[in-house]
């Protein structure tokens, strides 16, 4: 037995601990009551913060709703806008292709704070600063970059002869899109939606600057709870940020596994 294979169970245990312990700690902190130093374990449990998260009219419930609306909207719009952009970029070759890929990379690589301050004037000019619509548009900028890069890769490998065949059989552009291309791209559209959802779900800097504190999303509430020293609520909010992200990833992995047999 080599040294590497002897250490594998120990490394596996460390990986499991590293992946699960932070989530377990958040869960514990979200239900622990009167959990003061040096108690290693909460002396009492409460579901108060979880109740507030789902009770209508509560701060956290409202923020959760706003975050969900923004993330779903950004995911849908990002996929819808990123598709044609990515496809058009995939048609490029040589220097133009490098230029196109770099352009799509810009919104992804731009520091969030720099992006937010830069976009603020546009939002003010358009009269959408401090509104949910303005925050949605600011989330859409990086989400479109991710989706365009994603579809650039997808359409680079896409076999367009299928569409050509449909056209030779008399199908118009709309029919080809709805009856041929879209059904083949269900998985890719789902993944692009997930990308946009996650980009919006975790945004803080653009929400803070463009929303001007008036649009309250879940991450902003988590910040507020931390600053107020309400660790239980902050941990609950943090877990609420984690759960949809993990569920989304699981759903996409499941969809990918099901669609794996379908050639592109």
């Amino acid at each position: 037995m080599t040294e590497g294979s002897r250490s594998r169970p120990a490394v596996l245990a460390a990986l499991a601990l590293s992946a699960l312990a932070p989530l377990a700690l958040l869960l514990l902190a979200s239900v622990g009551r009167d959990w003061f130093f040096p108690a290693p374990w909460p002396p009492a449990m409460t579901l108060e913060s979880w109740g507030d998260a789902f009770r209508g009219g509560g701060r956290m419930a409202a923020a959760l709703g706003t975050s969900l609306v923004l993330a779903v909207g950004t995911g849908l719009a990002g996929a819808a806008v990123g598709w044609p952009i990515g496809r058009a970029l995939a048609d490029l070759s040589g220097w133009a292709r490098h230029l196109g890929a770099s352009a799509a990379f810009l919104p992804v690589a731009a520091p969030p704070v720099a992006l937010a301050t830069g976009l603020h004037l546009s939002a003010l000019t358009a009269g959408v600063a401090g509104t949910t619509g303005g925050v949605f548009l600011s989330h859409l900028v990086p989400a479109t970059g991710y989706a365009a890069l994603y579809f650039l890769g997808v359409f680079t490998l896409f076999d367009r002869r299928v569409e050509d065949e449909a056209r030779t059989l008399g199908a118009g552009p709309r029919t080809v899109l709805w009856r041929v291309t879209m059904p083949m791209m269900r998985r890719q559209l789902g993944e692009a939606f997930l990308l946009g959802f996650l980009v919006s779900w975790a945004q803080v800097a653009t929400t803070l600057v463009i929303g001007g504190g008036r649009v309250r999303t879940l991450p902003l509430e988590v910040f507020a709870y931390l600053q107020a020293g309400q660790d239980r609520y902050a941990a609950t909010g943090a877990l609420l940020l984690v759960i949809p992200a993990l569920l989304m990833l699981g759903a996409v992995r499941f969809a990918v596994a099901r669609a794996e047999a379908t050639p592109l």
């Binding site: 990986l15 992946a19 902190a29 058009a88 970029l89 720099a114 976009l119 803080v204 991450p219």
Partner: protein
């Protein structure tokens, strides 16, 4: 120029336009031509901001945190990818646990980091229960500390998942065949790792390492939760200036935003240069 080329370039412009408008506005605002505190043009603001020691201290601190956390995450990813590369159950479980933190938002990771590493966090409580600590003040500062240890560990944990995913993919798609060739030529396991696996992994994950570095250097969420107020990290300093009650200082944020963008672009350019340099040696 063909119709599809024109369409492609228009698409490129469409996706980059919001950022370009933002950059253009930042350039104009940083030289005082527009925005809050505009004073009619000139490089005075830019020179003044770039002459502030707090700016360079913040930049250096952000780069230190990014370099340390990315190096830790990359080393861990390479080690785990080399160790769990087969199809056995233990390998699949290890790969699953390694990438599990991937979709967890950085803010949630930062809250967990705070609850674990803070002065009265779980680590301090465990040390206290073992009799090694009497009060929270005895716990070494791991959050809000000048060295940024808590932030580095939290970001390394978060970036490790991303780099491990890339490393697993590199090993799965490119490693097997070349290693087999090395083995048939008589290379021992250590030599196979040193001469084949390691160079493949390192080059394969380099784009992701650069992306992680750029991301971490400009990340706001985790930094706002775990970083000290002195030195103030560049993203925090930028937002602090942007929301300053003194309108004349708000324009400083645009000069700082440009500085942040320059760092990102330099990292990407360095990576592109390295990649084109190494591509010449690809088999």
């Amino acid at each position: 120029m063909t119709r599809s080329s024109r369409r492609g370039l228009l698409a490129a412009l469409a996706v980059a336009l919001p950022v370009l408008v933002g950059v253009g506005y930042s350039v104009l605002a940083s030289v005082g031509l527009t925005g809050p505190g505009a004073a009619g043009g000139g490089s005075a603001r830019l020179v003044a901001v770039l002459g502030e020691p707090v700016v360079w201290a913040g930049l250096a601190w952000s780069l230190w945190v990014a370099a340390a956390s990315t190096a830790l995450a990359a080393a861990g990813a390479v080690a785990v990818a080399a160790l769990f590369r087969r199809g056995a159950g233990i390998d699949r479980m290890a790969r699953l646990f390694a990438v599990l933190p991937l979709p967890i938002p950085h803010l949630a990771a930062a809250v967990a980091g705070l609850l674990l590493l803070g002065q009265s966090g779980l680590l301090a409580r465990l040390l206290a229960s073992l009799g090694l600590l009497a009060d929270p003040g005895g716990m070494p500062a791991l959050v809000y500390d000048r060295a940024g240890l808590g932030l580095i560990l939290t970001l390394a944990w978060k970036e490790f998942a991303f780099l491990a995913l890339v490393a697993f993919s590199v090993v799965a798609t490119r490693g097997e065949r070349l290693e087999e060739v090395a083995r048939t030529l008589g290379a021992k396991p250590a030599a196979v790792f040193r001469r084949v696996t390691w160079p493949l992994l390192w080059r394969g994950i380099l784009p992701a390492v650069v992306a992680a570095f750029v991301f971490v250097a400009s990340t706001y969420e985790a930094t706002a939760v775990l970083a000290p107020s002195d030195p103030l990290a560049l993203p925090l300093l930028t937002l602090e200036r942007y929301t300053d009650a003194d309108l004349s200082r708000r324009g400083d944020a645009f000069a700082l935003a440009l500085l942040g963008m320059t760092v990102s672009l330099l990292a990407v350019a360095a990576h592109e240069w390295a990649r084109s340099h190494w591509d010449r040696f690809e088999p």
